[in-house]
Symmetry: C2
Subunit: 340 residues, 2 copies
Amino acid sequence: MAPISIKDIAREAQVSHPTVSRALRYSPLVKRETAERIRQIASSMGYRANAVARGLVTRRTRTIGAVVTTIADPFIGEVVSGIEEMANDHGYSVFVANCMADPEREIRVVDSFQERRVDGILVTSSRVGALYMPLLSQLKVPIVLINNQHPSEFVHSVTIDNIPASRKAVQHLVELGHQRIAYIGDQFGFQSDTERFAGYREALESADFPFSPELVVHGDGRPEGGRQAVEKLLALPTLPSAVFCYNDMSAIGALSGIRGHGLRVPEDISLVGFDDLFIASYSDPPLTTIRQPKRQMGRTAMEILLNLFSDAHQETNVKVQGELVVRESTAPPGPKLKPE
Amino acid sequence: MAPISIKDIAREAQVSHPTVSRALRYSPLVKRETAERIRQIASSMGYRANAVARGLVTRRTRTIGAVVTTIADPFIGEVVSGIEEMANDHGYSVFVANCMADPEREIRVVDSFQERRVDGILVTSSRVGALYMPLLSQLKVPIVLINNQHPSEFVHSVTIDNIPASRKAVQHLVELGHQRIAYIGDQFGFQSDTERFAGYREALESADFPFSPELVVHGDGRPEGGRQAVEKLLALPTLPSAVFCYNDMSAIGALSGIRGHGLRVPEDISLVGFDDLFIASYSDPPLTTIRQPKRQMGRTAMEILLNLFSDAHQETNVKVQGELVVRESTAPPGPKLKPE
DNA sequence: TTGTACGCGTTATCAC
DNA sequence: GTGATAACGCGTACAA
């Protein structure tokens, strides 16, 4: 038994099917009584509009695609939540697809989104942003990048303003009295790492601290990478008294690495993260970090898309500010210690 | 400029559009050379099939809807990842919608999914499962429930086998020598709480331990609830030496509550969680817990849907087993202590 | 092996 | 105000 269509309703209501269509969409063109009678009948027949057919003729599906590395990532989960909220509020539905940081897969899902005729595409934390440049020009739908990892000033984007955020984090450590401050970065070449590193250097310069290359190490943005990176710092003849980490995940790893050496946070080493994931409030000690307005970033990206749908094509590059959240992983430096 | 259709290709290739349609879908009915030539042209023209039009005629959109409380939840994120993986592997795209545990909103998104003519619906951890019962019968598409919180044996579902899993957790504590074991539950009335509690009681019985009602308290499944619940336990004249928590989030909260009283985990009190969220490995101490195969549960649910699409309508109720993961939050009981 | 004719359910464009 | 009719892009009988 096929689902009922406006034609079925038309027959029942003794009108033509376009009239049903009009009535259902509250067109002022149809007489009030007729419209109400039609809606009555539609509802009693359990009618459900067919968005597929509508999309075919209107050429707008009220559908958007979100491509993410993995929806299981807590950062991304928040962003997508924001996207979905804003989308849903405006009658849009959201396709979501993991690309697993695999460029080929990423292209495939963008392709499948195009086949589904999404009205727009949102991309979060893509590490293969560079690949978009050629693809972008062929793209027939607007695309908004969120915290993309490669410079691309000529498209729409929502990005955390890394440099000032990063400065705030390091300045906080400086104000606590730290002088030997290390940086655990992400992989080389990613924009956010480069920018957060730049903020780190700027803060050191403002404080008239020398820059010591040995205090800069690199993880992979995940706990294990942070743990390994902090090992290098702990092997130094003079330990840093504070470590600023590229993100919370790295900081979590660094935390356990530091503990593994019998050192305490923050008594021996202060630790600052970045992102303010949920986990940051519940680590022990709770992590001082830079809060990214993740959900808001998702909402904003979706908002840009909505604007793009309705009118002007102006380029939009929104920068949002991070906020320093002081918890218990930072404190004034204690007496100098050697590891173990 | 409208996107090109098979008719455009047909004109270019000097054939009729059905031939193009056949060629593009590798129908054996079309001569090999013709087919290849057509595909050549299609590709060079940058043709992208229109899944909307296809869905209209085939009455199958190769689309499914996932309704979740919030995609930002780490548990749900993993499940949805599994869903998306399996779906993508089979050419399906996934709509995702948050219902915020709001029954009205939940019904609205299910409705919008129906309008979009999804081929099936997946629901994760719904707390309003009861509402589905009337809705379910009207539903024209198959639905699979994952860890739904209300008994509903007559639909398709994937569920963690709570009772044995819970038994394992408590037995582990018994084997360590604990005799006074508390339970921090979720809200009353939810199936998973009821079942995990049942497993707890069974394990106590097997060990010939008496059941002490004062050792059972309730949180809300989140850290703050766990923290508040553990306060009641810590106010007891005789403290428990171990606490089994409804889930990891509760355990994380309990952990900080215990710490707040100057007690140590596991030296003073052992702690066991449930779920094995990512955070469980990175808390301090890392949490002993029951692992739910979250991603696998998502994959399985999607697989059930795929089977339902292709053939038989047999009822499917898959139970998956939890696995005890011993980390460092559990140890043999130490000397008895009074709080503070 | 290929082409013709039609239909999927809706909206848009005309008439009346 | 309302009704024919066409069109969206595709798949599928059926005919050739």
